[in-house]
């Protein structure tokens, strides 16, 4: 049973949602991004979600902007304004506008009467006609039509024209002709709207100061910055949506910050590998030799990396992998989001293997956890996989401003240098464990005394080949203990308790905002819950305690098979029947309504 969300309809100022329906490859997303960015500059909490197809040109694509003064900018399920720019999808798009909402469309051609709803207001702007009269080239007309509708939206939504003008100036710095063309196109739409419609509409933006300690950044760029700041010098990758922009950003930052001013040479090497078998192999090789190295990928890449993740686990080689998850299985839906690689990553590779996982919930955490990933990988000499997703990775989020502590010292883990080696009689790679069950390693090129033979075959504490049960078990048992010790080193879960709450809600990653919004609404309806967002695997004592403290828990995640729930059942002592699931896995970012509907229905209220 769907429950209608009770919204504060008294004011739509800084509280509304727009959906823009476009044709892929026409340059619309940069116009849409411009609008969203302008609202952010006006200090208003906002989000922009690009719901694009796996296509270069021609297929329908959508962009959603949600403005919410309290900061709940997860995906909305109903829209106040529909910007219908794609005749192919008119019928469906117009259906999606809420009652009393607005449809902005290109009135150069008449609208099919069957598409006219009596309960919405139509804002017709003759975009194609105006742009064709003012600009010459075919490509220019297509691109600038987007800027023209943006101009109309600036007028009807009350966006500050000076802010937009500044953004255009920044975007087209050094390309004055382009900037001027964009300004003119913007004015076309703006002027027309001012003249023909009542501007601004009730749903509009007004300056506020909510976004003061925030920045607008996507998770992939933030993760790339994390890798840069962590001191990664070798990166290997194979192009794959939705992780490609991470390595693009890393390369761009390296070009800016890692070229030696004296020699002109690069203090980094980014290698585009032949496949993901190779990219993870390169990471292993570089980490084995002592560099901080990483790769970024998505689900299909994780499948290919399984083999060498097992080698890294067993031979105890640090490796950092960023998995920007998309909808699977197989090729799945490459441009849709999901959280469906959790189990595949937790136990990646054949044999008994377990990995350390980090779950960022927003771009700020992508930055912080990327740094953490290197520290943990080197401390525990093992792969660390950070599971982001397409929604966090590729969409711009208003997120707490990234900060850096210059006192940070990388945790390189237990590595013996020549001096250390001189002090000991002999070196054995898998012997002399510390309290974390980590044994010291050595790097090639340091001392013949540190030489050892790295292998994925059965080995003894000394690192020698073995097929003997007790020698083999001595090593794999220590690996299990070592993994267990990481539980208290991964980021703590975010936990929030409310008075009188009897139900616990557990979630992960980018579900955060939608779930928080839903819980507030549910509590208004008398369903009061505690909240936990897990941020790392293996699970520590806080996770176990939260599960123990509740008789009933909802686990909210974006996959079909309740993977987080499975992981909790497998890796804590929680009773399976205490955990109920809220599963949303159609590929679109989670919205609060999804959570409210499911929990209300399951509780029969």
């Amino acid at each position: 049973m769907a429950v209608e969300v009770v919204r504060e309809t008294t004011s739509l100022v800084n509280d509304f949602a727009i959906k823009l329906a476009n044709v892929n490859g026409t340059g619309s997303s940069s116009a849409n991004n411009l609008l969203m960015r302008a609202m952010f500059r006006m200090g208003v909490p906002v989000s922009g979600k690009n719901l694009f197809p796996s296509n270069i040109q021609g297929l329908p694509t959508w962009y959603e902007i949600r403005v919410n003064k309290t900061g709940f900018v997860a995906r909305a399920r109903e829209y106040d304004v529909m910007v219908a720019m794609n005749a192919q999808t008119y019928a469906r798009d117009i259906r999606e506008v809420r009652r009393d909402g607005y449809v902005l469309f290109d009135s150069s051609w008449p609208l099919d009467p069957t598409l006219v709803r009596s309960d919405v207001t139509y804002l017709g702007v003759p975009l194609a006609q105006m742009v064709n009269e003012s600009f010459r080239g075919a490509r220019e007309r297509i691109l600038l039509k987007n800027i023209a509708y943006a101009g109309a939206l600036v007028a009807v939504l009350g966006i500050d024209m000076d802010v937009i003008a500044d953004l255009l100036t920044e975007r087209f710095a050094g390309k004055e002709k382009l900037r001027d063309a964009n300004q003119r196109a913007l004015q076309l739409g703006y002027g027309y709207a001012r003249e023909h419609f009542e501007c601004p509409l009730p749903c509009r933006v007004e300056r506020m100061a909510a976004a003061a300690d925030s920045m607008l950044i996507d998770g992939n760029t933030a993760a790339a910055l994390g890798c840069l700041y962590a001191g990664a010098t070798v990166a290997a990758w194979y192009p794959i949506t939705p992780s490609t922009s991470l390595m693009d950003a890393f390369t761009k930052f390296c070009e800016r910050y890692r070229r030696d001013p004296v020699t002109g040479r690069n203090n980094y090497l980014v290698i585009q590998a032949e496949d993901e078998l190779a990219s993870i192999g390169m990471v292993l090789g570089a980490s084995w030799a002592g560099a901080r190295a990483f790769t970024s990928t998505s689900g299909p890449g994780i499948s290919l990396m399984n083999e060498l993740l097992g080698l890294a686990y067993y031979a105890e080689i640090p490796a950092v992998v960023v998995d920007v998850q998309r909808a699977g299985p197989s090729t799945g839906m490459p441009t849709r989001t999901q959280q469906s690689d959790m189990l595949a990553c937790a136990y990646a590779s054949h044999g008994d293997t377990k990995h350390i996982l980090l779950f960022p919930g927003n771009p700020t955490e992508c930055f912080e956890m990327a740094v953490k990933a290197f520290d943990l990988a080197e401390r525990f000499q093992t792969p660390v996989i950070m599971l982001s997703d397409l929604d966090i990775g590729m969409n711009d989020w208003v997120t707490p401003t990234l900060t850096w502590d210059d006192a940070y010292v990388p945790d390189r883990g237990r590595v013996l240098d020549a001096e250390d080696l001189d002090k000991i009689t002999s070196f054995h790679r898998y012997d002399d464990e510390d309290a974390d069950f980590v044994t010291p390693r050595t790097l090639p090129g340091v001392s013949p005394k540190g030489a050892y033979f790295t292998r994925g075959s059965g080995h003894t504490r000394e690192g020698a080949y073995t097929e003997t049960a007790d020698e083999y078990q001595a090593v794999v048992d220590r690996l299990a203990r070592k993994h267990h010790m990481a539980a208290e080193r991964v980021p703590e879960p975010v936990v929030e308790f409310r008075d009188d709450a009897r139900i616990g809600v557990v979630t992960v990653g980018g579900c955060d905002l939608a779930v928080r919004e839903a819980l507030l609404e549910l509590s208004a309806r008398g369903i009061v819950t505690d909240y936990m967002r897990v941020r790392g695997f293996p699970f520590g004592a806080t996770v176990q305690q939260f599960l123990d403290d509740h008789e009933l828990l909802f686990v909210i995640e974006q996959n079909r098979d309740a993977q987080l729930r499975s992981l909790l059942v497998l890796e804590t002592t929680v009773a399976k029947d205490k955990l109920r699931s809220v599963l949303v896995y159609g590929g679109y970012p989670l919205s609060a309504d999804d959570v409210i509907d499911s929990i209300s229905a399951q509780l029969g209220s």
Binding site: A236, W404, F453
Partner: protein, 349 residues
């Protein structure tokens, strides 16, 4: 007891290299391969080459994949780090290690299964990147550890131990290398250490990827009549393209009077390679001519050995990447992190 420590036997008469080390210092654990295995001869040649070039053992990185060849890095240079990785994956792992520390001397040992089947894609891209490394392909035409299946280098008509003849066209690493843009291609025979040692030395001195395809007979599964990778067949059909001398930089100056018919090729670090017995007109730097020569020889059923092709001009992985001359592992963290103030500037953009 699958791992056997080799007793270190030394006697005062052993010759020392520039570092004061004897050949014994470049040995490793006792081989667990079959008695008479070609691979053990290759190991012995490597020990000799590494000792002769006086490479500090700890600066060597021994890389391998899986198979009989994959085990051999345990049998030489005990003072060096070794990485016996996964089947077919030596190339990317070595690429990453080389990216991190360009000062190491990489010695990769692979086999025909490892390089030409499961790892063929990686080999192609290792060649394209020209990763500086000696890549020894111990080629016996057969899968030994899984008991005698044909490999991708088995010739058409070559028979397995049970008598079945291979029907599939072989992949020749030299021809593959020529087409993918390799910069150093040589072929040797494990039974001819005289020729093999200089080839390995030249490969170690090369400024990029040096592939040395070594016919290395499998005494257990592929040394019978009907095999084209046996000791007998190779001895009967081998055509030595050239006798090769590798001259280290300092030696090159002394060898000022070359023999009649010697072709000398300078290497990037000042060393040089001298060929003798080169067929008239053979130019090891002319890719097209080399390709034609080798195809003709192959059609005649000849196994051509020697240094077949060399190009010292192409950039390696680091040249193409304009990487710092200081190995990336040694670049201090302070030079890598842009710091808090810069992050604030990025945030403000």
């Amino acid at each position: 007891m699958p791992s056997i420590v080799k007793p270190s036997v030394t006697h005062p008469g052993l010759q020392q290299n520039r570092l004061g080390l004897t050949a014994r210092d470049y040995e490793g654990a006792m081989s667990t391969l079959c008695a008479g295995c070609g691979h053990d001869s290759v190991t012995a040649a490597l020990v000799h080459a590494l000792w002769d070039l006086a490479i500090p053992p700890h600066m060597i990185a021994k890389m391998s994949g899986i198979g009989c060849s994959g085990k051999t890095p345990a049998y030489f240079a005990r003072g060096a780090h070794g990485f016996n990785s996964a089947h077919g994956r030596m190339a990317p792992i070595a690429t990453g290690a080389n990216a991190a520390n360009r000062d190491l001397v990489f010695v990769g040992i692979s086999g025909d299964g490892d390089s030409l089947s499961i790892g063929l894609g990686h080999l192609g891209h290792l060649i394209r990147r020209n990763v500086r490394m000696l890549y020894v392909l111990e080629n016996n035409g057969v899968y030994g550890l899984t008991k005698g299946q044909f490999s991708a280098s088995a010739d058409v008509g070559s028979t397995a131990k049970g008598g079945a003849a291979n029907q599939l066209s072989p992949i020749d690493p030299i021809g593959f290398g020529l087409s993918a843009g390799a910069t150093f291609l040589a072929r040797g025979f494990s039974g001819d250490k005289q020729q093999l040692v200089p080839l390995l030395k030249a490969g170690l001195a090369h400024g990029g990827l040096a592939i040395v395809d070594v016919i290395s007979p499998c005494v257990t599964f592929n040394d019978h009549e009907g095999s084209t990778k046996s000791y007998l067949f190779t001895r009967q059909h081998e055509v030595k393209l050239s006798e090769t001398d590798f001259l280290a930089p300092e030696a090159a100056i002394e060898a000022s009077i070359p023999d009649e018919g010697v072709v000398s090729i300078p290497m990037h670090d000042g060393a040089s390679i001298n060929f003798r017995a080169v067929p008239p007109g053979y130019d090891a730097t002319d890719r097209q001519a080399v390709t034609t020569y080798l195809q003709d020889a192959s059609a005649r059923g000849e196994v051509v050995t020697g240094l077949l092709y060399i190009d010292e001009t192409r950039a390696d992985l680091h040249g193409a990447g304009n990487t710092s001359m200081q190995p990336l592992v040694h670049v201090p963290y302070e030079k890598l992190c842009p710091g808090a103030a810069e992050l604030a500037r990025i945030g403000a953009r």
